[in-house]
């Protein structure tokens, strides 16, 4: 039943989940100081020439896989949370981020789908462009990896203001050590995660995430293998058994 007059609707009343999530991420329920270790790095704005150089040095590959170790330093925790796992990246397929210890959980981004498998083996599928249902931050990581591993610095420059520090001691000798500082341009994201630092030489080595309340996460990459994916690797992008898409997680379909 169409309305008489085009008083379009009360969308102003409705909220978007994306918005609330962003608020959640950026909310600080207490005050805390930020890490100042990298203040020097963030003063070095990256020139496009430097970025181009970095892109060549990274010698982008269409795929990569390897292991990661993650250290979460939360102020409220007695000791850091340490986890290990592996990742698979392919330009044509997407990203698999699989934690193996202390418990298994997997995150797969492919075809604009965000698939999450928890420790119980429950599979949850979200449409990535339906940002309201996915977690914006969970989306961010695969995108970051995608851009980094494929050496797509330009894509990074779209969403972050970049600063770069090249290791002067190793000048002239490849592989040169570098540190890339990333500050999100999106104000909401910036509130949630004001700084990220990526470091490496030919390949990326570490990613450090800082949050405004002083929490910090460090991810170390190792055993990076850029050879083509095996059939088994590709199979992992489609976790079996394929779950029924529940009404709650399925993209909302407009009534026709």
């Amino acid at each position: 039943m169409k309305r008489l007059f085009p008083l379009t609707q009360a969308r102003a009343l409705a909220l978007t989940q994306a918005l609330l999530l962003s608020v959640l991420l950026s909310s600080s329920y207490a005050q805390a100081d930020t890490d100042a270790n990298y203040s020097e790095l963030f003063q070095h704005g990256a020139s496009s020439a430097e970025l181009t150089k970095l892109t060549t040095q990274l010698s982008p590959s269409a795929q990569a896989k390897g292991d990661f170790s993650q250290y979460r330093y939360l102020k409220v925790l007695k000791k850091p949370l340490v986890s290990q796992g592996e990742f698979v990246f392919a330009k044509d397929f997407g990203v698999i981020w699989q934690q193996n210890t202390p418990f298994a959980s997997t995150l797969i981004l492919k075809d604009k789908q965000l698939i999450q498998i928890d420790s119980q083996g429950n599979i949850n599928i979200n449409n990535a462009d339906q940002a309201g249902s996915g977690n914006q931050m969970s989306e961010l990581m695969p995108k970051l990896l995608n851009a980094l591993l494929s050496g797509d610095i330009q894509q990074l420059a779209q969403h972050f203001s970049l600063s770069l520090q090249l290791d002067s001691n190793a000048e002239g000798q490849a592989p040169q050590q570098w540190q890339l500082g990333l500050k999100p341009t999106d104000p909401l994201l910036e509130k949630a995660m004001p700084q990220m630092v990526l470091a490496g030489n030919e390949q990326i080595q570490t990613l450090v995430l800082f949050s405004r309340n002083g929490d910090r996460s460090r991810i170390e990459f190792s055993a990076i293998d850029e050879s083509p994916l095996t059939a088994a690797d590709k199979q992992r992008f489609s976790p079996a058994p394929l779950p029924e898409i529940s009404p709650n997680t399925a993209p909302q379909i407009e009534g026709k």
Partner: protein
């Protein structure tokens, strides 16, 4: 005729009468100027034309609140293949719209600070989202999602702990130290997210963004950035409309300059109102102008003199002056639709002028005063019947229609007074010989009368044929009282609106649910119980979406239960939970303190709606006002597919009412359509009785039969051409009666001297058809219906009225 009246109409008083007339005109003019200075204006709000529906005070308040919430909002979409371009366009547009308008009146620029044409300009409302977070975080111990509640009811706190741990390990999750010290199991984020329905909208850089999936596989997706705003003043106020339009033009120009490829779509009442205003203005000017030109040509053709033309213009102008000033004085404003309908006044007021001049043409030797005395009875009866007809229109509960009635009635009185008071002096100059036109008229009437079959069997056949035609027409006649037909929306505006509606996941319909109760507690309970029914209705595709306060305002019993269930965490297992998560045990004391302090800290309508978080929900809540005791909540519905099925579903619930203003108004329209047709019959009867005193019962019956038969034939034609009957057809039929009865009256009054009358009726019918025939070409369905009915009705009356002479002849024979 009374001698005193005759004396008044005699030549001696001509100067005095002109003086009275001039004084009247001067007074009216002055009144008009005062009214206009006092802020009277042309109103183009179509809502102002709608009838008032009687509802309970609570329902009326609910309607008013919903209307106010939805009114004057506009929605803009900036579409681009590049996400950043869409976002930048939205940002530029918002910045421009926030600037004070440049087209304010000079007065206000000097005295007051200049204001922007729009308020509440926003895309993603960050401030509200943050306020919601603040408010609900404070009430986190009163909140649980269904899943959380079930787990706690089964005592499965370990499962919640495990889920929290997993979030803790995710470096990209919202688990952080701050949140953990207040909510170790991370229960709150899910509750906050549950407040917002899942939508296909994202937020980037503070801008609401929608990805439009490509239509074909090989195309890349496009991005739409959404901007919303509310007009500072009504979209139907012409000045505000202009201000808002120029503000939008400025904003769009800036956006286009930045990126010429950007596509802009818009939706909102403003754009419909603008189209309606444009349309009405165009129609008033074109129909009014063509009507006027046609009439001028007609007069020139008939009288070959500029004098009648000048007098006709004087008559029409003074009639319009009276009409405009009286209407403004009564209503304080003039509706644009009144003016459109009112153009018909030209056609009617000029009839008096025609009648006067045709009579003079017929009796060239008679003085102006003599002619007026001759036609005085006919003109007065004509005025009387027309005013009766217009009063009937005025009985309709449409403010707009009441305006039309007052407008036309007062305009006719103005024309009548002009004829009586000013003509003796102004129109005293004799006419040139006009026999040729009179001869045409006479031979036309002779031709018409010769068409009447002579034999009684043939006459019977004609009567039967007419009856059959009318019967067939009536069987085909349907009615349609849907008020949506009042609105004519250009296709391109509708298309843009539909596109935006799709982007925003449907819209909100005019129908809504009103939930009432004796206490706040009862209403929130009712809302909670209603929620599963609404979800079911969504699944059954009866509605597309709904917006209820139930999510934001849980019932107090549910809140209390949630609080008690969380006791499992904070009273019994906090040590184990903190240990399993590896959290610092020192936070335990503060956590327990927070939990205990939160007891009875309920989310209430008062606290929510007076908090920044709930400000925009205010229109959905009704607290008792003076003299009332009940509470109410509004549930907005969108994408309704089957209204009847939906109504049935909620009929059984005693505290839930489906408020359907559109349906109610349509019902009222139908009701008044029937009443109007009844009034028409009554008006015919009254006119018949009045005429009986003058003409005797037989001729009176014939005089009334002409408009009656015309009305029947018109209805039959509408039926056969499949035009569903509306109130506007019925109202037009009343006018057909008002004008048509003049024709038969003039014929009946003139007995055998019908040459002048025939010519007057011809000219009057021509001028009326010119005015109304053009209304039938209006794009607004209501005006179109009005015009079409009048065209048919006047046409039939014009064709039938000459036959009255047959009966006047007979009645003379009988005498």
């Amino acid at each position: 005729m009374k001698p005193s009246l005759n004396r008044f109409l005699s030549h001696n008083t001509a100067k005095l009468r002109l003086f009275i007339w001039l004084t009247l005109i001067a007074i009216t003019l002055a009144t008009g100027l005062v009214l206009w200075q006092g802020g009277a204006r042309v109103q183009s709000d179509i809502l102002a034309m709608l009838p008032k529906v009687s509802e309970s005070p609570m329902t009326q308040r609910a309607m008013a609140q919903v209307e106010q919430q939805l009114a004057n909002r506009i929605y803009l979409g900036f579409i681009s293949g590049n996400e950043q371009s869409a976002i930048d366009a939205a940002k530029t547009a918002m910045a421009k719209l926030k600037l004070p308008s440049q087209h304010n009146t000079k007065k206000s620029t000097q005295n007051t600070a200049r204001k922007s044409a729009f308020i509440d300009i926003s895309s993603a409302d960050m401030a509200q989202a943050e306020a919601l977070n603040r408010y609900y975080f404070n009430h986190r111990f009163q909140l649980l999602t269904n899943e959380q509640q079930q787990l706690l009811e089964r005592g499965q706190w370990q499962q919640l702990t495990q889920a929290a741990l997993e979030k803790l390990y995710n470096a990209f999750s919202y688990a952080n130290s701050d949140l953990l010290t207040h909510d170790p199991l991370l229960l709150y984020p899910d509750n906050l997210i549950a407040l917002a329905p899942s939508q296909q909208l994202s937020v980037k850089q503070g801008v609401l963004l929608k990805t439009i999936a490509p239509k074909a596989l090989n195309q890349s997706p496009r991005f739409a950035a959404i901007v919303m705003a509310k007009g500072r003043d009504s979209a139907f106020n012409p000045n505000a409309q202009q201000l808002q339009l120029s503000a939008l033009t400025t904003a769009f120009d800036a956006v286009k300059q930045q990126d010429s490829d950007i596509e802009i779509i818009k939706a909102g009442a403003l754009f419909h109102a603008m189209a309606a205003t444009e349309n009405a203005k165009r129609e008033v000017s074109s129909i009014g102008l063509i009507s006027l030109l046609g009439v001028i040509a007609l007069v020139w053709f008939a009288f070959r003199s500029f004098m009648p033309l000048t007098i006709a213009l004087v008559t029409v102008s003074s009639s319009f002056l009276f009409a405009v000033v009286t209407t403004t004085a009564v209503f304080g404003e003039l509706h644009l639709l009144t003016l459109v309908f009112g153009t018909s006044l030209i056609g009617i007021s000029i009839d008096y002028c025609f009648h006067y001049y045709c009579e003079r043409l017929n009796h060239p030797s008679h003085s102006s005063d003599r002619v007026i005395q001759q036609i005085f009875i006919a003109i007065s009866l004509a005025l009387l019947t027309s005013v009766i007809a217009y009063s009937a229109i005025g009985l309709a509960p449409f403010p707009g229609m009441q305006q039309v009635a007052i407008f036309c009635a007062s305009g006719l009185v103005g024309a009548y007074l002009t004829l009586l008071l000013a003509y003796p002096t102004l129109a005293a100059r004799p006419l040139r010989d006009g026999n040729r036109a009179l001869d045409y008229a006479s031979s036309y009437q002779g031709f018409m009368l010769s068409l009447m079959p002579a034999g009684s069997s043939k006459r019977l056949l004609l009567a039967v044929g007419t009856c059959v035609f009318i019967t067939i027409g009536f069987t085909q006649l349907a009615a349609n009282d849907d008020i949506r037909q009042l609105q004519h929306t250009p296709a391109d505006i509708q298309a843009e609106e539909d596109e935006l509606r799709t982007l925003l996941s449907g819209g909100t319909d005019n129908q809504f649910l009103l939930v009432t109760g004796d206490s706040e507690q009862q209403v929130t309970d009712e809302l909670a119980q209603l929620e599963p029914l609404l979800k079911q209705a969504e699944q059954d595709n009866l509605i597309g979406n709904h917006l209820s306060l139930s999510r934001f305002l849980p019932s107090q019993s549910a809140q209390e239960r949630h609080y008690q269930l969380q006791g499992l965490i904070y009273r019994e297992h906090l040590d184990e939970i903190l240990a399993s998560l590896g959290l610092d045990p020192s936070i335990k004391g503060a956590l327990i303190e927070q939990y205990q302090a939160a007891k009875g800290n309920f989310i209430t309508a008062d606290s929510l709606l007076n908090h920044a978080a709930g400000e925009s929900f205010k229109p959905l809540w009704l607290s008792p006002q003076e003299g009332e005791s009940g509470y109410g909540a509004i549930v907005l519905l969108g994408g309704i597919t089957q209204l009847e099925a939906l109504t049935q579903r909620f009929d059984a619930l005693p505290h839930v009412e489906l408020v359907d203003k559109v349906g109610d108004i349509s019902t009222v329209m139908g009701h008044y359509r029937q009443i109007t047709l009844g009034l028409l019959a009554l008006a015919l009867l009254i006119a018949g009785i009045i005429f009986t005193f003058r003409f005797g019962i037989r001729l009176a019956a014939v005089v009334v039969a002409v408009p009656a038969l015309s009305a029947l034939l018109t209805l039959a034609c509408l039926g056969i051409s499949h035009n569903p009957l509306t109130l506007f057809h019925a109202l037009a039929l009343i006018l057909v009666f008002g004008i048509g009865i003049d024709y038969s009256l003039f014929f009946a009054e003139s007995k055998q001297q019908t040459r002048g009358v025939m010519m007057a009726v011809f000219m009057s019918a021509m001028s009326t058809l010119l005015a109304f025939g053009l209304l039938a070409f209006s794009q607004t369905p209501a005006i179109n219906a009005f015009g079409l009915t009048l065209m048919l009705g006047i046409g039939f009356t014009f064709l039938l009225s000459p036959f009255i002479q047959i009966f006047t002849r007979k009645s003379i024979d009988v005498d």
